[in-house]
């Protein structure tokens, strides 16, 4: 072995660049060690350790936000560190903090092992953070599988509930299908790019940069375009975009509420991070193909999500389908991204707005759920404003922001996406989005109406309403912070406004 190989490795494998991910992995293992070493009654420290650890990692990322690795590639080009990647790291860590907080509340109502839950959440989060920075199709696939396999377990975590098991099976089957689509697409692209008869052929087609220059040299290759569509379809499954959204309502209903939140927020966001980096760099020369495909995804997703959500009574299904419509909004941004300078920033802004509002809503849902986590009906919210004004307020702020009502931050997200779409000239999609917003008002408002305007009439033979869990101090502070930032960011964006400037 040549000494230069080792030198190269040392120069490339900058482990310091992935400190947050390593810290998360260590933390995840440490939780298992705690379980082994401590007696059972002291397992309470596990969620605390997970939360404190996550906050430390978050602090680390924020403190080194502008580190020297940003803008470079490491590990022989497997990873590419960008400002967007840093933003997404913060996003996934925030989401993981909230998932752990909600899991504390939700797991207390179940007789399930606790430690593994936090362990898997941490590992999946690390996988998502890598995924958002991946610069290589192989790493993309491996990291995506890390994430997905972790989610298979989490979705069916409350295994004594038949609906949860059904959800787990559905997610497994559909997930396997989408992974195979993605893999097939990658293989096609790799194979075509290696064809020596084509101009610009390369043996390194897994690398985004190499593949991009090959695609630029062959802008109308048939096999490559099939590969691109397959890769996009695989990602569309993660996002829950039409026509790959069919698993959403069942899985969202069956999964434990914190996991539903994890799916709705993190898993969706990771799909968009991947979609953005693929469509803006690797597939950029296939605009003729991307634009119609993304336009179709966006329009159909917007309409389907909103219309399907109209008739739902189970709030988990409702929020799942409304999440589909949010994916449609974000896809509108992605479709605009190649022509509108502020679209990428708008998408990140929208994702953060969605994170804040969604966890506010999921936080309330977790507290209202009974022992049967899948049974959460709109009726259970009747009279919430009287029974618990704090939760009702958080719910109203969260739903208002999801509906895009000013002065909440969700409105700003929608506004920025609209402006981007206008800059890109996507007038038809804007019309669809406007219709979608108006429809969405109906079901969001219906939910708020149930909480504020209606009272729960208990009939002796009717089903009883599950007992509400009182809000403890830490969760209360977290939910209050979510609601407050949702309101404040709606009219004062401050430094976050700088994200939106074209890069």
């Amino acid at each position: 072995m040549d000494i230069t190989v080792l030198q190269n490795l040392a120069a490339n494998n900058l482990w310091g660049a992935i400190t947050p991910e390593i810290m998360l992995g260590v933390l995840a293992l440490a939780l298992l060690v705690i379980e082994l070493l401590f007696p059972k009654q002291q397992h309470r420290v596990v969620p605390v350790a997970a939360l404190v650890g996550l906050l430390c990692v978050l602090g680390n990322v924020l403190a080194t936000f502008h580190n020297p690795h940003v803008g470079t590639e490491t590990f022989n080009g497997l990873l590419r560190h960008t400002r967007d990647g840093q933003i997404m790291r913060v996003f996934f860590l925030l989401a993981a903090v909230m998932v752990c907080l909600l899991a504390r509340v939700s797991l207390a109502k179940q007789t399930m092992p606790r430690v593994e839950f936090y362990h898997i959440v941490l590992v999946v989060t690390a996988g998502m953070m890598l995924l958002a920075q991946s610069n290589n199709l192989l790493l993309l696939f491996v990291a995506l599988e890390t994430v997905t396999i972790g989610l298979y377990i989490l979705v069916s975590y409350y295994r004594n509930n038949s609906l949860t098991l059904e959800a787990g099976l559905k997610y497994l089957v559909m997930g396997a299908l989408s992974s195979s689509l993605l893999l097939f697409g990658i293989v096609l692209l790799y194979g075509v790019a290696g064809n020596a008869a084509l101009p610009g052929h390369t043996a390194q087609a897994m690398q985004y940069g190499q593949l991009a220059s090959f695609l630029a040299a062959n802008p109308h290759n048939f096999l490559a375009s099939i590969g691109i569509v397959l890769v996009l379809s695989g990602v569309a499954f993660k996002i829950g975009a039409f026509p790959f959204q069919i698993w959403v309502p069942d899985v969202y209903q069956g999964a434990p509420t914190p996991v539903t939140a994890f799916l709705a927020v993190s898993s969706k966001a990771v799909g968009f991070a991947v979609l953005l980096s693929l469509s803006l760099t690797v597939f950029a020369s296939y605009g003729w193909l991307l634009t119609p495909v993304l336009t179709f995804f966006a329009g159909a997703t917007l309409l389907f999500g909103n219309i399907a959500a109209l008739t739902q009574h189970n709030v988990k299904r409702l929020i799942g389908l409304s999440g589909v419509s949010h994916a449609g909004f974000l896809l509108l941004g992605v479709a605009a991204a190649s022509r509108a300078p502020m679209a990428v920033g708008s998408i990140y802004f929208y994702l953060f707005a969605y994170l804040l509002a969604s966890f506010a809503v999921f936080g309330v849902m977790t507290h209202l759920a009974g022992a049967n986590d899948t049974d959460q009906e709109l009726d259970h919210y009747a009279g919430l404003a009287k029974a618990d004004p704090f939760l009702a307020l958080v719910l109203a702020v969260g739903l208002g922001s999801l509906a895009g009502i000013p002065p909440l931050v969700g409105f700003m997200g929608k506004l920025f996406i609209f402006i981007s779409a206008f800059q890109a000239g996507l007038y038809g999609l804007i019309a669809v989005a406007v219709v979608g917003v108006v429809i969405s008002i109906y079901y969001y408002f219906g939910w708020i109406k149930a909480a504020f305007f209606e009272t729960w009439a208990t009939s002796p033979d009717g089903p009883a309403k599950p007992a509400r869990t009182p809000v403890d101090l830490v969760t209360g502070i977290a939910l209050g912070a979510l609601a407050l930032s949702t309101v404040v960011l709606g009219f004062y964006q401050g430094p976050l406004g700088a994200w939106l400037t074209p890069r």
Binding site: F416, F422, I430, Y492, G497
Partner: protein
Amino acid sequence: MINLPFDPLLVAILAPLAVALAIACGLPKRFAVKLAYVGFGLPLLLALHVWFYHAAVPQTSGYAFLTAYSTGLEALGIGLKLGLNGISLPLFVLAGIVGFAAGLYAIQSGAERLKIYLMLLLVMQGGLMGVFASVDIFFFYFFHELALIPTFIMVGIWGGRDRNYAAMKLTIYLTAGAMLSLVGLIALYVKSGANSFDLIELRRVLAAQPLGDTVQQNIFGLLALGFGILVSIWPLHTWAPLGYGAAPSSAAMLHAGVLKKFGLYGLIQIALPLLPAGLVHWSHPIAWLAVIGNVLVIGFVTIAQRDLKQMVGYSSVMHMGYAFLGLAAGSTLGVGGVVLLMVAHGLSVALMFLLSTSVYHRTHTFALDEMGGLAQKAPVLAALFVAATFAGIGLPGFANFWGELTIFVALWEFSPLITALAVAGVVISAIYGLRAAAAVFFGPVTPEFAKVAAVNPVTDLRWSERLPALILLAALMFVGFWPKSLSTALDATLAPAPAARVAAAK
């Protein structure tokens, strides 16, 4: 005291919001009510202050009291910029007056959960002051929505008959209207190339390089449709009578009186100067919709109403028809007339809603057939009601007269036929107005009313009800006798604009 040590516009917006926040934080009821007086009173005092000194302070790009605050989005051309020109000044004062009257009326109403009710009204008041003080279109829209949300909640919680249905319908219609106008505003932002929501900047860019005619027509069409829904243009008006019928009185006063003017204000302040070719293209369809739909059809529908509050709701839809007609005429006179009518109608419809609720408290019904003879027991209420009816019809001496007169004069230039039809509408409003006043107050006492009166002895208006009503009536007559108090500033802002519009038409 020309120069206050603070920005009067910002304080007028923030004072009600701050009081609302304080109430939300759990202030005891005694203090909450006292503080609410401050929250409703301060905007009124500041509005009168800026009205009084408007001509005396220096103006920047046509705006007095211009200030700008950063919210972190300068790169996108979004910032909180406050100022008043001749068009926004009358409406800013209107918002102050009606807000104060609605606030006083709400405080004495003794509504259930009064604290939350006052809090929502205060949020609405803050939003209303913001709508007319904003020079930045984004914040103009933003404050409108801020004021709109409490309306939905108030209809849903304190509403009367069919409140759930009414709240839902109101929400969906108004959201649709707001979204459409938002898309129009974004279109303006992108297509002008200014990449700014600042109205002064937009005017500058578009004066140097106007948009193409087709683009102007399309954007104007979007804005007219979106704002039109918000102002209840026929046939998209159905939310208005239903919503006002169900809304609690103070919310109806603020919404029908002030917030509804947002759409007209947007068309006058934004669409007319920036999209002159759009107005030329759309003026005839708008005028015909307004005169046939709003004035005549709704006029007859109003005559047919047997419910007092529904009647007031429909009459407000009808009067919006005149506003659209003045807008369609497009001349300085016509547009100035619309602004005058907006102020006059805002005051008079608020007064009508207030008095209708006071009538209801005495008769326990809104059904006109079950009332009669109330004037014997409540002469002051009757006098005020008749005065408000006269104002609504547009008799001289009230502000409405000047608004309608100038609109009709301007409309004659535009189309004599439409003018003739529109003037016929005045007769219709006289019919339903006087018939309602007669049915409620005069004639013999009906058996139903006698039954109610036997259980609840009928008293005349209390002073706590009289004061807000008198404030509104005084403002109506003040403008009625001295319209110049508003029209000087209005003329200074509007007069230079039509030249550009006429040039675009040729």
